[in-house]
Symmetry: C2
Subunit: 205 residues, 2 copies
């Protein structure tokens, strides 16, 4: 069970690490973090560095492809080398997935044309420009293509994917292992529910 | 606003990355990942590598201390050098916090004696051995010491901490930024709610 995350400068780390902590528990999971070159990759905030364990060119297939988002995803929508790699791996993958603005990379690669899909709430117009039909859901399944909304939604997506791959008991076990019994102190986690003051705060930064 | 995460071989990455993605948005946040030596630190599953950006010895104070857990936390409860560092930094910190079995390190450092605290559901006896009173809550606040339950609970903890530091509007803005509107596909995220089959699945691995 080869699970491949492309990583790049400017990714949002939680987009990758959330699903990783679920999917790494799949039976015989072999997780690869792949970048143009192996080595350090710094996140969009410039404060956290992950390590790419393989070069994109050395990864030729995947059972599960998970494309994270972040400022670096938006910056790479014209990176034909990355897009061609995504197309090539997606053609081999049982499941092609994205978290947050990772869906823009799937879209730019031509993989969402005509499909329902989701992304971070700030990128819905960009997603639709690739022919996807933005759908305001946390996880959108279209056959073997699954897209998740912003950042933290990758955890929910990965649990659903674990259910599809290994069944509901395994997925519930993984949820218990990461003690995912969410109790956010506010109900401000979606654009439709967040108060205007919170939106203004973000817009002012 | 200096936010310090000690990191070590065998940590659970999400324990650190979940709170990181919230706390990095605090005004003037300066995040440091500190290990015995700067450089790569591999997680408990052996598949994900973070980078420590500083040596423990070079970090002498923090506004916020966040101690992650994982197999490496359990392995380090006798590491006097790390425990002494935790005691020293906690003495300077406005907030001393832990995620998952990171609380065992706070306990081993003598910081939880007589306090209510939480940890991963699998480590409650170990926690109480340090004089803490295990409390089955996702986030436990005792003055300036805040402990969170397993792995994913660090996100909830960090949002509460953001509220305490920067106010509710900022915390709600951060929740919106990471689109934390959790919708797990099952209700199996706590030991009291998970079905027996899921517990059996974990025990069999």
């Amino acid at each position: 069970m080869r699970i491949v995350f492309p990583v790049f400068e400017g990714l949002t780390a939680l987009d990758a690490v959330g699903p990783y902590e679920v999917l790494r528990m799949l039976p015989d999971a072999d997780v690869v973090f792949a970048a143009a070159e192996p080595g350090p990759v710094t996140d969009g905030a410039g404060m956290l560095t992950l390590t790419a364990t393989a070069a994109l060119a050395d990864v030729t297939e995947a059972d599960v492809l998970v494309v994270p988002g972040g400022p670096g995803a938006r910056a790479n929508v014209g990176n034909e080398e990355l897009l061609e790699w995504i197309r090539r791996i997606a053609a081999t993958a049982g499941w092609t997935t994205s978290v947050c603005t990772g869906s823009l990379l799937l879209g730019a690669a031509g993989l969402l044309d005509g499909l329902r899909a989701t992304t971070h709430w700030s990128a819905t117009d960009l997603l639709e420009a690739y022919g996807a039909r933005y759908t305001e859901q946390r996880v959108v399944e279209q056959g073997r293509v699954i897209t998740a909304a912003g950042v933290s939604s990758g955890i929910d997506m990965a649990l659903r994917l674990a259910e599809l791959i290994a069944g509901p008991v395994a997925a519930q076990a993984f949820q218990l292992a990461i003690e995912y019994d969410p109790q956010p102190p506010f109900d401000a986690g979606s654009y439709s529910k967040a108060p205007q003051a919170a939106k203004d705060y973000l817009a002012s930064r």
